[in-house]
């Protein structure tokens, strides 16, 4: 089985538009590191592009889209984003996007 990730989205349309975006992925590889977070600059494709890792999309309440996408990781980013505690995480992603 190829690599699989999941991500939680508020602005689903932007991420699925095929433009480069910043995301937090959860690595679904089996084993004790499963669900490790990784911040990335990436391009998401729907329907999935053959050969790319599968990406499962969830809503802000954790509802899973039935159809998978794929993700091409352009760049791995630091573990955290700039932002005051309790500030909006999705807004921090947008700021990091530039």
């Amino acid at each position: 089985m190829g690599r699989e990730y999941e991500t939680f989205l508020r602005d689903r349309e932007f991420v699925l538009s095929g433009r480069e975006c910043i995301l937090t992925l959860r690595d679904l590889s089996p084993g004790k590191m499963k669900y490790r977070g990784i911040n990335v600059r990436a391009v998401v494709s729907s329907p999935p592009v053959p050969g790319e890792p599968i990406l499962w999309v969830r809503s802000v309440v954790g509802l899973k889209d039935p159809d998978p996408c794929s993700v091409r990781i352009v760049e791995e980013l630091p573990d955290t984003f700039e932002g005051r505690p309790y500030s909006d995480y999705f807004a921090a992603l947008e700021r990091a996007q530039g």
Binding site: Y35, T80, P85, Y89
Partner: protein, 474 residues
């Protein structure tokens, strides 16, 4: 048997038939928590899982330590069969007795020490609690220690913390929580990192104290001493001056960033829903992990009727009663049903009516507003008997005049599922009081009389019927 640490508590509830040990292998990825979740929903036992997939047998996981009144009673060294009203009374008496902690140089939680870059949080068998959560939650049944930046005030709270990477945690103590207040008022303005210690598997009174509704600047360590009837032994952390219960199974020491965030949530929470409040959290970097040699990680499979429901219900209800008394409300009893996800309070009063109802709702929403529904009943309704409460509510609350709504901004419970996503993010909400009392200006001669044995029959007939009923074998 005295419960001096978490292990002795497990032994006690095993003896009372309230713990099941599982030696077969169980998957940390949803299966383990699923068993705990089902048990909560069925008022079933706690579980101790001795064989967790992907992890060595030295690591064990215990679920839902006190998700039932029976186990809460045992944790307080009371009979598991104690009536609920008496359990409330015992708790209320003990929480007025503060017993200062005792400082010790060493303790079981120091048997293994891991520092800095050597830390990998995935080495702990942290369960994936619910399918669709934002990650694996290390902090569910925990005790998080923090200290005010400008005073000696030390807070213990029970807050959720999720693993992001090997050394990064994200968490959601509400911004209105004591920890949130300390962080936002004391550390963020200075750009300073706030040390915290996430304690797992301490003695149960310490966790109850952490989860309790308690005053700002109060010492939960002293409260824990009072609840357990003995001083809590505290030992200093390795990478900060914070003090933690020495008998704890695991201690995760960390620093909260004043200027960094990462994904946290969503998470299936104590109201019994996953409400999508992700994206308003804090982020911490782990500096050390210490633990016992064969540690037990504790898990509250958060959701409907979880372990926090009993603790926050009992302490919250007693706090509400004291607060109403302080404001001159003629309160008799207060009960928060665990089934309500700590969203409903039942308040009985000597004298009811609209003015009392409005007063109650305003008092209980002045600072934080976690309760969104309040049923106010007359003193002849036993607040611990929910069938009597529902009867009073359904029949005595006027659909129009009996409903008193109080709206507020900035202090609503972001976890309340009834609120829209916008309301949850902006902490906007409302609390409603359902006045289920007779209006005080109604003349007695025309006020309806309840058709129950204790109200519509003479004392003589009541006595006769009760005795006869017993003879009938009931």
């Amino acid at each position: 048997m005295e419960n001096n640490d978490f292990r002795s508590f497990l032994s006690t509830i095993e003896a009372s038939g309230d713990l099941v040990q599982v030696d077969d292998q169980v998957d940390w990825d949803q299966e383990l928590a699923g068993i705990g979740r089902l048990s909560c929903e069925k008022d079933g036992p706690a579980f101790l899982f001795n064989n967790v997939k992907d992890y060595s047998p030295e690591w064990r996981v215990a679920t839902n330590p006190i998700a039932t009144w029976r186990r809460l009673a045992v944790a307080l060294n009371l009979s598991p069969d104690i009536p609920l009203r008496e359990l409330y009374q015992a708790y209320a008496e003990r929480e007025t007795v503060m017993i200062p902690p005792r400082i010790v140089d060493d303790g079981p939680c120091k048997e293994v020490k891991i520092f800095g870059e050597e830390v990998n949080l995935f080495d702990l068998p942290v369960p994936m609690v619910h399918e669709g959560d934002g990650g694996r939650y290390l902090g569910t049944w925990d005790l998080v220690v923090s200290k005010d930046a400008d005073s000696d005030w030390v807070n213990w709270g029970m807050y959720r913390f999720m693993i992001h990477t090997e050394r990064i945690l994200t968490g959601y103590p509400r911004p209105t929580s004591h920890l949130g207040k300390m962080l936002l008022d004391g550390y963020v303005p200075k750009g300073a990192r706030m040390p915290i210690a996430i304690v797992i598997g301490a003695d149960i009174p310490s966790h109850i104290a952490a989860a309790a509704t308690f005053r700002i600047s109060g010492s939960e360590a002293e409260l824990a001493g009072g609840l357990g009837g003995r001083p809590i032994e505290l030992v200093k952390c390795e990478t900060s001056d914070l003090m933690v219960p020495a008998s704890s199974e695991i201690v995760v020491e960390a620093e909260v960033y004043p200027d960094r965030i990462a994904q946290e949530g969503p998470y299936g929470e104590y109201p019994g829903y996953r409400s999508g409040e992700m994206g308003n959290s804090l982020c911490a970097r782990v500096t050390a992990v210490t633990h016992r040699k064969d540690p037990i990680l504790t898990l509250d499979t958060t959701g409907f009727k979880d372990s926090s429901a009993t603790t926050t219900s009992i302490s919250g209800a007693i706090a509400i009663k004291r607060r109403l008394e302080k404001h001159g409300v003629p309160v008799v009893d207060v009960y928060i049903p665990p089934e309500s996800g700590v969203h409903l309070a039942v308040v009985s009063v000597k004298r009811g009516g609209a003015e009392i109802a409005r007063n109650v709702v305003e008092i209980l929403t002045a600072r934080r507003a976690l309760i969104s529904k309040i049923i106010i009943v007359d003193a002849d309704v036993d607040v611990f008997d929910m069938s009597a409460v529902v009867h009073a509510f359904a029949t005595k609350c006027h659909p129009d005049r009996g409903t008193h709504i109080h709206r507020y901004e900035g202090r609503a419970n972001a976890l309340t599922p009834a609120y829209s996503l916008e309301e949850r993010v902006s902490h906007s909400g409302a609390t409603v009081a359902f006045d289920s009392t007779w209006p005080p200006d109604w003349p007695r001669e025309t006020t309806p009389i309840r058709a129950t044995l204790d109200s519509m029959y003479s004392p003589e007939i009541q006595k006769l019927v009760t005795e006869r009923y017993k003879l009938l074998g009931r």
